[in-house]
């Protein structure tokens, strides 16, 4: 059911584009699904592949969204770089050895959440720093990081549910 995964992935990319273009209610929250998309890439895709996908995906979002070109790519490539070590750290070597994709049903919400929070934190720290470019006070960046992390984590859990369909 790879086709199903691809469609879900594509829909989530579109959802991310919509979030970037239309979700401007507050400057303190930035919603992102991109780390979850990279984390939930099929495990048969290695780090090199994930790096290029992250770069391409980041640039695509930057290009179609009202953002700076290169900003999402800059923040997403490191997530792809740490994806394999992070998965091995939290879920063990099993997912890559057996080429099993991440699923909430198998690994539980807690471990999935932990992996998501680490990936999101890495992404958001780079994104918020590069976006602010030293012009924002520390407290603003800190509040934005915490609020965005919480909101994006909830949204990403839904995305992971959608992507980790057992039928895949």
């Amino acid at each position: 059911m790879r086709n199903n995964y691809n469609w879900t992935f594509l829909l989530l990319v579109v959802a991310q584009l919509l979030l970037c273009n239309y979700f401007h209610f507050t400057p303190y929250v930035f919603l992102t699904l991109l780390p979850a998309l990279i984390l939930c890439l099929p495990t048969r895709i290695g780090t090199t592949g994930a790096l290029f996908i992250a770069f391409g995906l980041g640039l695509t979002i930057d290009f179609f969204a009202e953002g700076l070109l290169g900003l999402n790519a800059l923040a997403l490539v490191p997530v792809a770089f740490v994806r394999k070590p992070l998965i091995e750290l939290i879920f063990g070597k099993e997912p890559f050895e057996h080429q099993e994709n991440l699923s909430v049903q198998k690994y539980g919400s807690l471990r999935i959440s932990l992996a998501l929070i680490i990936a999101l934190a890495l992404f958001l720290v780079i994104y918020i720093l590069a976006d602010g470019a030293g012009t924002r006070p520390f407290w603003f960046s800190a509040i934005k990081l915490v609020a965005s992390l919480f909101a994006s984590w909830l949204l990403s859990l839904v995305a992971v549910h959608l992507l980790s369909d057992d039928e895949r």
């Binding site: 090199t48 700076l68 900003l71 490191p78 470019a133």
Partner: protein, 275 residues
């Protein structure tokens, strides 16, 4: 072999990661002026720190050279001080004399003094070879020190002001009444201004000067400040004076010689004979 392949693979992945990050950054810098300024600032700060650290390291390693240069400079300055001191001693021994209103001033150094008896004395390093004569005064910028009592070729013996036999003519204020000033016999900076008429008003804090009535000391050398007064025998006031010069801390003095002293004494003598 698989291990080597794994290492190469990891290096390759890292290189791709760095390459993609650099590419993202370059794209970002081309599109965001704010980001360009920010990165430029970070870059300049990094370069400044790197250069600063390099400079510090360079300075550290050049410390030995700087120390050597400082030692040479120190040596040169010490030589200059020594030359200056030698020239000062030479001029001192030649007795630099400044003449003013008939008074000549000769710098001298106290080589011995007493301060614990009622008849204190001083021995100065200037004698008849330096032009010092008996009955010359000894002063400092802070007051009167004593009077030369005896002179040898190289030394002078002087009666200190801290001597109960010593009395100098002093004036209360610049234009006030004149009276003899004597040591109080107690303190090294204490004196008593005597024979001040009762009708003369004074206030504690008034300055006491040399009167210039004696032929030994020039007029208007500040001596000290008046304190409280007390009536003696119901006829005159005695005023305590706090001297500016503490006689226990003396080291360098000036000998004052009045070149017209003989002329003054002669005219006095002549008048006394006429009577």
């Amino acid at each position: 072999m698989p291990r080597e392949k794994s290492v190469i693979s990891k290096i390759l992945i890292f290189a791709i990661f760095v390459g993609l990050e650099v590419a993202s950054l370059l794209i970002l810098l081309n599109n965001g002026a704010l980001q360009r300024t920010w990165i430029a600032g970070i870059s300049h700060s990094f370069m400044a720190k790197t250069w600063g650290a390099t400079q510090s390291a360079r300075s550290y390693f050049s410390l030995k050279k700087q120390n050597d240069e400082l030692a040479l400079e120190n040596h040169r300055l010490q030589e200059a001080i020594r030359r200056y001191e030698n020239s000062f001693i030479a001029s001192d021994s030649a007795s630099v004399v400044v003449v003013e209103d008939g008074f000549s001033f000769t710098p001298a150094k106290i080589v011995k003094s007493s301060a614990n008896s009622q008849h204190n004395y001083l021995i100065l390093n200037k004698g008849s070879d330096d032009g010092i004569r008996q009955n010359s005064g000894i002063v400092t910028p802070k007051g009167v020190v004593g009077i030369i009592d005896a002179v040898s070729r190289h030394y002078s013996y002087a009666l200190s002001f801290m001597n109960t036999e010593m009395s100098i003519s002093a004036r209360l204020g610049r234009d006030g009444v004149v009276g003899p000033l004597v040591w109080d016999g107690l303190r090294s900076n204490g004196a008593i201004l005597k024979e001040i008429p009762l009708q003369i008003k004074f206030a504690p804090g008034d300055t006491v000067f040399t009167s210039g009535y004696s032929s030994i000391f020039p007029a208007d050398i500040p001596l000290g400040v008046a304190g409280t007064g007390k009536v003696v025998n119901g006829a005159t006031n005695e005023i305590s004076v706090s001297l500016f010069q503490d006689h226990k801390t003396l080291k360098y003095v000036t000998i004052v010689d009045n070149a017209r002293m003989e002329e003054i004494e002669e005219i006095e003598k002549l008048q006394e004979e006429k009577r």
